[in-house]
């Protein structure tokens, strides 16, 4: 464990008076308990030693020992090591030093705990409300133990979020919450000088549902994977896997090798479908609907494959703690190979026909460009970071499931614009095909599930990272009593990437806003109704249920 020894040696040399204790559950995890006074210096030291800031976890332990705990986590990508620095303060005055002035991507995590736990952060550059609704009453902190999980305070009419001050001579252009080019409820106030963007403020979290609170109070360990799967409509398996791995790592539950292989196959199938979806959406956002139609036509085959493998197009429901639920039979194995070969062939056709298209080049090259230094400073992850020359991929750096058994390339580009993110995603698709083939070839026989025979010990910490199609998902679990996690923190890849959006937009054109936001991968759902349009008069009306029913019945009967 040279990396752990080195970090501990450096920390002990400089901060020996502030370190209370250390814990190394295995050679890939390190937890350091510190006194809260010098957290800023110690966090900076972690960055100097080669750490990459991931996320902070705040927990209310007021019913256990009367404290509130804050954990900052750092990944050491070159050493395959995940670390957390933990500190506790009395629950009646939870004040910490903010680390945001030095590590800007910690800004949202800290604002989150101002909202949810009532923590105070001194020197925070932007201590505004982030998560809670604007009419949520002051002084009610929903993640605290004394607040019931189903609390519904009455709404208020006359409150609104105060956007940042508009720069001198600029005009505000609101984008969202409902906007034709933005498929998710988030509000960007874009400050423009003419057509050029000079700044941006973000107000999001409009669909915050309190899943963490729900699962910490109402759900049992093995029910949470199914909730986790519904955090994201695109990368469901990623969240279920990350949560299960965090619990398994905290409780020391072994996972059968075959189950890990099946998990990996599901993750790669999900990556294929997600990247194809993104390719289509990106084409749609720049007004190139041919790509949209063709990418989604190809993607449909992977959805049908998912249906045959797991019983559902999406939200596969394959993963539970300790393993998976369904096996890959020899027939399914041939089916997967056939579909993968077919998609690879089709993708090559799409790839060749769009790669030289000047329309795409003009809309994406040089758009949303930021430097590698900024990408590292803002802790960007996934294809967004890899397009900016940051060579990180958790599948290679922190191998989980069966990724240490396969070989693959990590495409990295230095252009730093939207075009490079497009290339990264298309090239990753080819790697996914190769990974699935390797996995199917090497898959061992064996059990699918380790049955839990003893209760999971409370207050153990588990952290797991999974490379989602959009980047790195981090799940942190503190085990609890009564078959329920004490704390479950989810950090989706969009969380750090969205924080980098204002920087990506700076000095770009207003017309490029949709593709810049789209380049970090949005997900959307839409509903539509059937409308009947009278061609002669131009009137339109919505068909009733009875009409549609008779229409479809008659059609089916051939009448």
């Amino acid at each position: 464990m040279p990396a752990i020894d080195n970090i501990l040696k450096q920390l002990n040399e400089k901060f020996s008076a502030d370190i209370i204790g250390t814990e190394t559950p295995n050679e890939r995890r390190l937890f350091v308990d510190i006194k809260p006074d010098r957290v800023r210096d110690i966090s900076n030291e972690m960055i100097v030693l080669g750490g990459r800031y991931m996320v902070s976890i705040g927990t209310d332990f007021s019913d256990v020992d009367g404290t509130m705990q804050l954990i900052h986590t750092f990944a050491f990508d070159n050493d395959n090591l995940l670390t957390g620095i933990r500190m506790s303060v009395p629950a009646d005055n939870p004040a910490f030093m903010s680390i945001t002035p030095d590590i800007p991507s910690a800004g949202w995590s800290e604002r989150e705990y101002m909202d949810l736990l009532g923590m105070k952060f001194t020197d925070h550059p932007k201590p505004k409300r982030l998560i809670l609704a604007d009419d949520w009453p002051e002084g009610v902190y929903p993640l605290r133990k004394e607040v019931p999980w189903n609390l519904m305070p009455p709404g208020a009419e006359d409150v609104a979020y105060q956007l940042d001050e508009c720069p001198e001579g600029c005009t505000v252009v609101p984008v969202g919450p409902y906007h034709p080019a933005l498929h998710e409820p988030a509000h960007f106030a874009v400050y423009v000088d003419g057509e050029t963007i000079k700044g941006c403020d973000y107000r999001g979290f409009m669909t915050h549902r309190g899943i963490e609170k729900l699962c910490q109070t109402q759900m049992t360990y093995n029910e949470v994977p199914f909730i986790a799967e519904r955090i994201c409509g695109i990368c469901g398996s990623v969240h279920a896997t990350a949560y299960s791995q965090a619990v398994e790592s905290a409780a020391g539950i072994p996972v059968p090798r075959r189950a890990e292989y099946i998990r990996t196959i599901m993750l790669e199938i999900e990556r294929i479908h997600s990247h194809l979806l993104w390719l289509g959406v990106a084409g749609h956002l720049i007004g190139f609907d041919t790509v949209f139609m063709q990418a989604w036509r190809v993607r449909e085959h992977i959805m049908w494959l998912g249906e045959r493998m797991t019983g559902n197009r999406k939200t596969y429901g394959m993963i539970v703690i300790g393993g998976v639920r369904r096996d890959i039979t020899p027939e399914l194995r041939d089916d997967i190979l056939q579909v993968v070969n077919k998609i690879e062939k089709e993708l090559k056709v799409i790839h060749k026909s769009i790669i030289g298209d000047t329309a795409i080049h003009k809309r994406t090259k040089g758009v949303g460009r930021i430097t590698k230094e900024d990408a590292i400073r803002w802790s960007l992850v996934g294809p967004v970071a890899r397009a900016r020359g940051v060579d990180i991929d958790n599948r290679r750096d922190h191998p989980y499931a069966a990724y240490n058994d396969v070989t693959f390339d990590v495409p990295v580009f230095t252009e730093g614009d939207v075009w490079a993110t497009l290339l990264v995603r298309v090239l990753e698709l080819y790697e996914s095909f190769s990974i699935i083939r390797q996995l199917l070839e090497k898959m061992p026989d064996g059990e699918l599930l380790t049955e839990l025979d003893a209760p999971i010990e409370p207050y153990r910490h588990g952290i797991s990272v999974v490379e989602a199609p959009r980047g790195e998902s981090v799940h942190y679990v503190i085990t609890g009593k009564e078959n329920t996690p004490e704390r479950w923190r989810v950090r989706a890849p969009t969380y750090p990437n969205l924080q980098g959006i204002p920087l990506m937009m700076l000095n770009n054109q207003l017309a490029d806003v949709p593709i810049i936001i789209g380049s970090i991968d949005p997900c959307f759902s839409c509903t539509d109704r059937v409308e009947v349009v009278d061609l002669q008069s131009g009137n339109c009306r919505v068909a009733s249920k009875e009409e549609l029913e008779t229409l479809s019945r008659n059609y089916r009967d051939g009448r």
Binding site: F226, T290, Q294, R297, W304, G317, S353, I355
Partner: protein
Amino acid sequence: MWLLSKIKQVLMVIKPGVVTLQYPFVPRPAPANFRGIPYWDHQKCVGCGGCAGHCPARTIMIRDICQELRVMVYDASRCTYCGRCADVCPEHAITMTEHYELATNDKNDITETIELFMATCQRCGRCYDHENRNQIDRLSRIGFRYDNLEMRAVIPAGTQQIDTEMLKKTESYKRPERVGE
């Protein structure tokens, strides 16, 4: 370069042609492993409540009307079709069907209610062995469950969360009439 790309794109579009399915005019059967609406076989169900204990969406509710009668209600309007109930059922009484066209304007179409006599075995007519080998005891599901069938709310057993107001509303429960009467 530009023209070449456009020619390639035209070929890419023409080759597959129209791929749109004619659904719903042409039915599209679900594959064999599909997770559609679950089906309860009341002949096999022993009322252990394992499905209710594992349902992540809390769509399966149990109410013990009296010592002998246990009512189980499944309400698909909130179901996520994960299939955990079918996984954990010790008697294989639950199967995931391939029905997915479930849109309806009457909630009762997708609600299933089972009433079970609990003191005697449904299949052999003998009493349970309550002392040693009782599966229900092992599942820690002894005692009454007070789930609110009208409000579709699960009330966890063995806690202090039983709301007396809520309980009052469930007391007016009427047995559904028999089919055909």
